[in-house]
Amino acid sequence: MNNEAAIGHAHRDDLGSKMGMWLFLFTELLLFGGMFILYASYRYMYPDNFKVAAMHLDTLIGSVNTILLLTSSLTVALSIAALQRKQTRFSVYLLMFTIVAGGAFLVNKYFEWSTKIHHGIYPKGPEMANLSDGEVIFYGLYYVMTGLHALHVIVGLVFIGFMIVFILRGKQTFDNYQKLENAGLYWHLVDIIWIFLFPLFYLIH
């Protein structure tokens, strides 16, 4: 490993910074990993109930949200590329698009949740008593996992908001863009977790 780079720039080690971010992303994956284990176990325990419950989720909203997140991930990646090519303004526009798409995702999620809650399907909700154990668990997992994911979407949006400020103030530039890249990595994580949540809750019937 090249140590001279680390010593030459005592206060800036891009590779180290990126490595730290990747390690942090591992911990995030494991955080959700625990939930995925629970999902797998309960699906094995209650296969029929899970099928019934999954039928009641709106695949259309799920698909729209998937497209939104995937596109927003693309724009983050493009924004880094734009910054590297000194297209600062374009890079900021791309990040703004990401924030809009991420925001739209949350709005969709809000309507999806409130419809369910309106029908009395939420933990301790009036409708839950009529459901089977497996369905209760399914919705429990659904709320916890998508809720935790939505929390990550919000955190990611805040990060990206900061990146816009940094770029506009000239703190992230074409030769110093590690923070933006890390924020991008985080956003891709948010994206990839959704890629797994979507089929598990919406598509597998």
Binding site: M1, N3, E4, A6, I7, A10, D13, L15, G16, M19, G20, L23, F24, F26, T27, E28, L30, L31, F32, G33, G34, M35, I37, L38, S41, Y42, M45, Y46, P123, K124, S132, D133, G134, V136, I137, G140, L141, Y143, V144, L148
Partner: protein, 539 residues
């Protein structure tokens, strides 16, 4: 280049703020040290009170509910606030950069943030005692469904553990990047001191296991606040899944506790044996092996819960396998001491005590890892004795060992060695008097966490309680001796008091703010001595 030591350095902030806001890894280490010792003494006090309660059958000093909170708080504080952060945050923070020939860790500000997470978590633990339903009474494992039903303030306490977990993850992440990126020229992977290997393995476990605990604790909170039902059998949830998730973290966590201690042993033994370490490679690799296999043995905490025979056999087998790398270490340490001209200074005596006590703990662990004996011994005092032998006798003893080894370097003061040895002797006598009877009464059937007991166990409980008094006397002698050394006026500036070979003995005492005037270039292994063939006989 200035030679101002890290103790005297005056930066942007003065006085206490100069410590609380400093991102210097050495000052952060001292912040941790002070906080850790405070929480250690608090938890020791709870432990002593528990032993006092068990002195006689029935009520001695507290009622049953208070006893439940005592053992819970003793466990929670000891594990989350002392043993798990323990050696890495104090000695790792202080010495990892110096041992690697670096000026600081990779992310100094993140390092300070970790301390604030730790303190915030500790604050929440304390807060949970006074608000809501009062102090938790679930035991440190927070097992469902009781932790979902009890009126005590579980929600806040598990949130505290969650926050402290964050601190642990960030420290692990910081150390891994530091070890990958900050090694000085010539410091190849296999020229790193073995303490660094211990920290490296530990950091991976911290990073990869703690998130599972995080999500598990979050789910407990969700259950209690919203009633999601994931672990609640009344709603179709499976409490056993909670135990799986909990131990997926909490078993590797015992290696978080003990691997740095083992790394420390590998530092102290060559220093006082005046020899190169025997079997550098196997010791380094056994740390990684323990970290890896330690991941796959969590099921041995659940042998009596009704999990399938196949999985029980596999978990039992893997538990036996994990003993092998620990054995490799012990044999290599003993081989290093073989035919060495050993200086029996205070830090070395801690290591000797560690090897004996830890071996007892390790071997009784195999008794518990075997399926048939475990059924007899599970949830008895035998288990309590076993994990105190490995945790307290492993990490706890070595925490003090490391403190005595590095104290002169950290504080530029030298303690009274006779007092330290007497303190250690009382520690060891008290320790065995306290915990060895627990093996016997556990074998006879005394269940753990019970408030009351049958008269036939009385004699063991009396011996054990007397042992706790001796042990506490030893601990107090050790700590007061160090505090007296701190109060000495004159500074101790010997750079290398023990004849150590690793980089921390090459820098000034106390280390300067940036550790090194010039980044060193390493040519030899960490324990290389020029006079390797003819040991120096000056003592």
């Amino acid at each position: 280049m200035d030679h101002v030591s890290y103790l005297d350095y005056k930066g942007k902030h003065k006085g206490l703020a100069g410590w609380l806001l400093s991102t210097d890894h050495k000052r952060i280490a001292i912040l941790y040290l002070v906080s850790l010792i405070v929480f250690f003494l608090v938890a020791v006090t709870f432990g002593v009170l528990m032993r006092l309660e068990m002195l006689t059958p029935g009520r001695t000093i507290v009622d049953p509910q208070t006893y439940n909170t005592l053992f819970t708080l003793h466990g929670v504080i000891m594990i989350f606030l002392f043993i798990i952060p323990g050696i890495p945050v104090v000695f790792g923070n202080f010495f990892l950069p110096i041992m690697l020939g670096a000026k600081d860790v990779a992310f100094p500000r993140l390092n300070l943030l970790s301390w604030y997470f730790y303190i915030f978590g500790a604050f929440l633990v304390i807060l949970s005692l006074f608000v809501g339903g009062g102090p938790i009474d679930t035991g440190w494992t927070f097992y469902v469904p009781y932790s979902l039903r009890t009126q005590s303030n579980v929600t806040l306490a598990v949130f505290a553990a969650f926050v402290i977990g964050f601190s642990s993850i960030l420290t692990g992440l910081n150390f891994i990047v530091t070890i990958h990126r900050m090694r000085c020229p010539g410091m190849t992977w296999f020229k790193m001191p073995l303490f660094v290997w211990g920290l490296y393995s530990t950091s991976w476990i911290q990073l990869l296991a703690t998130p599972i605990l995080g999500i598990t604790l979050l789910l407990i909170m969700m259950e209690r606040i919203f009633g999601v039902g994931i672990f609640d059998p009344a709603l179709g949830g499976d409490p056993l899944l909670y135990q799986h998730l909990f131990w997926i973290y909490s078993h590797p966590a015992v290696y978080i506790m003990v691997l740095p201690a083992m790394g420390l042993v590998s530092e102290i033994i060559p220093t006082f044996s005046k020899k190169d370490i025997f079997g550098y490679g196997p010791i380094a690799m056994s740390s990684l092996a323990i970290a890896f296999i330690g991941y796959l043995v969590w099921g041995h905490h659940m042998f009596s819960t009704g999990i399938s025979d196949t999985s029980r056999a596999i978990f039992s087998f893997l538990t036996f396998i994990v003993a092998i790398p620990s054995g490799v270490k012990i044999f290599n340490w003993v081989a290093t001491m073989y035919k060495a001209s050993i200086e029996t200074r205070a830090p070395f005596m801690f290591v000797v005590a560690f090897i004996v006590i830890f071996s007892i703990g390790g071997l009784t662990g195999l008794v518990l890892g075997a399926l048939n004996t475990d059924i007899h011994l599970t949830d008895t005092y035998f288990v309590v004795a076993h994990f105190h032998y490995v945790m307290f006798g492993g990490m706890g003893l070595l925490f003090f060992g490391g403190l005595h080894y590095w104290f002169p370097k950290m504080f530029a003061k030298m303690y009274n060695e006779r007092a330290a040895k007497w303190g250690l002797l009382l520690f060891v006598i008290g320790f065995n008097t306290l915990y060895f009877p627990m093996f016997i009464m556990g074998y006879l059937g005394m269940p753990r966490r019970y408030y009351d007991y049958l008269p036939e166990y009385k004699i063991y409980h009396i011996i054990s309680t007397v042992g706790s008094w001796i042990l506490v006397t030893g601990i107090l002698i050790l700590i007061i001796n160090l505090i007296r050394a701190l109060l000495k006026k004159e500074r101790y500036t010997e750079a290398d008091p023990w004849g150590g070979t690793t980089l921390e003995w090459k820098v000034a005492t106390p280390p300067s703010l940036e550790n090194f005037d010039e980044i060193p270039v390493v040519e030899h292994g960490p324990y290389y001595r020029e006079n390797l063939i003819k040991p120096e006989k000056s003592h």
